[in-house]
Subunit: 341 residues, 3 copies
Amino acid sequence: MSKTNPGRFFEDYNVGEIIIHAVPRTISGGERAMYHALYPARSALFSSDEFARACGLPASPMDDLATFHTVFGKTVPDVSLNAVANLGYAEGRWHLPVYPGDTLTSESEVIGVKQNSNGKSGVVWVRTTGRNQSDDVVLSYVRWVMVRKRGDGAAPEPVIPELAKVVSADQLIVPAGLDFSGYDFALAGEPHRLSDYAIGEVIDHVDGVTVEEAEHMLATRLWQNTAKVHFDATNRPDGKRLIYGGHVISLARALSFNGLANAQMIVALNGGAHASPCFAGDTVRAWSEVLDIAKTGAPGVGAVRLRLVATKGAAGVLRGEDGKYDPDVLLDLDYWALMPV
Amino acid sequence: MSKTNPGRFFEDYNVGEIIIHAVPRTISGGERAMYHALYPARSALFSSDEFARACGLPASPMDDLATFHTVFGKTVPDVSLNAVANLGYAEGRWHLPVYPGDTLTSESEVIGVKQNSNGKSGVVWVRTTGRNQSDDVVLSYVRWVMVRKRGDGAAPEPVIPELAKVVSADQLIVPAGLDFSGYDFALAGEPHRLSDYAIGEVIDHVDGVTVEEAEHMLATRLWQNTAKVHFDATNRPDGKRLIYGGHVISLARALSFNGLANAQMIVALNGGAHASPCFAGDTVRAWSEVLDIAKTGAPGVGAVRLRLVATKGAAGVLRGEDGKYDPDVLLDLDYWALMPV
Amino acid sequence: MSKTNPGRFFEDYNVGEIIIHAVPRTISGGERAMYHALYPARSALFSSDEFARACGLPASPMDDLATFHTVFGKTVPDVSLNAVANLGYAEGRWHLPVYPGDTLTSESEVIGVKQNSNGKSGVVWVRTTGRNQSDDVVLSYVRWVMVRKRGDGAAPEPVIPELAKVVSADQLIVPAGLDFSGYDFALAGEPHRLSDYAIGEVIDHVDGVTVEEAEHMLATRLWQNTAKVHFDATNRPDGKRLIYGGHVISLARALSFNGLANAQMIVALNGGAHASPCFAGDTVRAWSEVLDIAKTGAPGVGAVRLRLVATKGAAGVLRGEDGKYDPDVLLDLDYWALMPV
């Protein structure tokens, strides 16, 4: 009997099944520091305990995307080891901030399966939930991937989940106690409040980062994501290592500080596409488009829905006339963040 | 008078001498996080405080190899600055887990010397002991290296220590309180318990990592190992930096999670050879062979003796017909780990 | 209206103005560990809580240069985004050690402006002050940079601050409680005390480090320094990324352990010049010259004034016959450190 994990194939997913993912992980100030070394992250709420306390939180939480990567990384051996493609995200919501000292676990429910017409693969939908040591949900999101079939058995009955195109503003969860009424714009780095942004506005975040192999591997290992393609240069015929899509998400989000310094906490992930693969040597830039603006019940706290695009090309360019992503576009992410009104 | 450390030569080692190594080091969650970023380490006991507590420990300890590297790194300026080769390890035992907040020191006793017949170098044996801030031993091991002679003086009387080929199972030290009777195999990542492994079984750990210069230098500095060959590309005629052998040990051990996820704590180092040098660009893989299986007195805790091989080639290949290591083999390590029975 | 920060131009600096820099930053054991991974730093006071306590401090503080980089990094978006050159430092003093858990902020007062004769740029002097969460000053220093003009308006009245060539020994601030009377030279790594050094003595620190892109970017991001030239390979015509000068400072200072292991705390920065740019692939070495020796009022604590030179060439070589820096010289730094007498 082989002792190693061969990964699951399309046939191994049954709607309704709950998959408990290994390995639980305790987060510390070390992971915080690594996040700041790996990405040009500057959001004040995730940088300073004092700033976070002035906003009503007990301390500076882990970056919301660090929580995402930690929860996501655990799903890789069970969900994406034999995946051909990561197709999409939906209904992502951050329920609770994560603080140094918290221990995160992750589990997924299979909520949909649909075999492809070629009979060689199929789409699997899972709803993944991350919890802390008190068993409180910190994050949940739906992801769907294309997975290879092991054999040529009959197709299962297709189950396609109904997913919200967007998390509606009234479903956003504002962390308990969050209060932006005394928000310090000077310390945060920019004067722009929610009312300064207009729906449809496009922001070029100007800065670029040329990515190195060592960096994306450090990041991907930090989240205990074990997918071979990120680490083994002999895995692809072209000798390239594919950069973990989450690395591009964090890089683009950190670059978006320049123009969106006050888009502090990510509270929802509406959708996202990894439009093209990213490789070491690529210079990654980012731009954002304001998609929506909303109120919340918390003092001084509003919400902004943003399209975040990571690109090797020009700001504002997303799709060609054929409707396909411009080849320079790496990531098209749709999320809600909290911002002082 | 030169202020810099010229290192010791063969003549400078006297059997019975105790060498106090600089520099003491306090470990924190930062070193833990770096370890997880540098290696694809996933053992649950070293990842989660909650998992460690469920196994009877007060918190998640530092990875046993991080303890080894920290203690070992301190010996480099005194033991291996003028070393021609790192020849072997024996009688390594981990006495106590190390936790964030602990401060480690290191000292070595010279236990053997033997001049080579060429009169230009000799072999030095040292027993190195790592201690924590309470002066409790956390690790001890024997290492022998070949060291250059300074001059052409007479050979000292040879003293060759008698070393155990293997740490016997009854000498393994199980951390106080360790209890695997309620071990959670789902969270740990694999279902295989000690009784699922057979002596002689070979496990291909499947995954590979292509190593980058920045990574091995970050690691080697983290353990305050100052050997020039790891950092200075002008040091060798071929312009290559030699990767610290301990980096290969940690890489191989982390890769061995896939098939040995439940081989949690390393308790003894029976022997080891750095068969070939490793350089940036190499894709490192690993395989293990089960050498022995034993009981311990702790509830639910067994021990497995493993050969861990890091290689650039195929699993299972160790030596050629001439008895020499296959040129693809980088490391051949013999250790004991604790595993749920 | 553009939301991104265009940086300040020469016209935007008014003498007497106070600039509050974003973003506050809480330091933890994570930043400490990263510092040790990025540089071959071994000073015992910054490595071990126990050693620091034996010297009268409550715990091991952050490396003094980590404090410098953290405070400095915050000034970049306000001071050096449109800077043509970083011209000099003066009157730097460390007022208080920084410990894990501290939150640092940074502000600068404009203390001088002088338009260049070409009318296209000018020199700006700022005095930058770093404070902790109790609003106590931890560091202050003067820096001057050459900044581009936005337009062709009239030159402002020149104001050139009078700056001390050297922080005088009686102005050095010794951390409260510091006591080197029981200093452990064996654990610190070298036997040399202040009385072993002579003014004019030159120390070749022997070791070299070949720098990688990933390393200097990790470091520069860790201090939230956002200058494009360090990250974006498309920013310069030659496709090179300029290494943050502070990376070279920390690298050289860490290398100087070999010969100056007991030059523990940096208490003053008298001056400094980044003589030549440093790029990935360069092998950086260091040498020091003893410039002065002084007493302090603290038990067993003396001060040594050092010239620290980072170079790609030979030790002892600083300037050519024309008085210009030798092209191999990267850094010429003048500082005071505390050392056991």
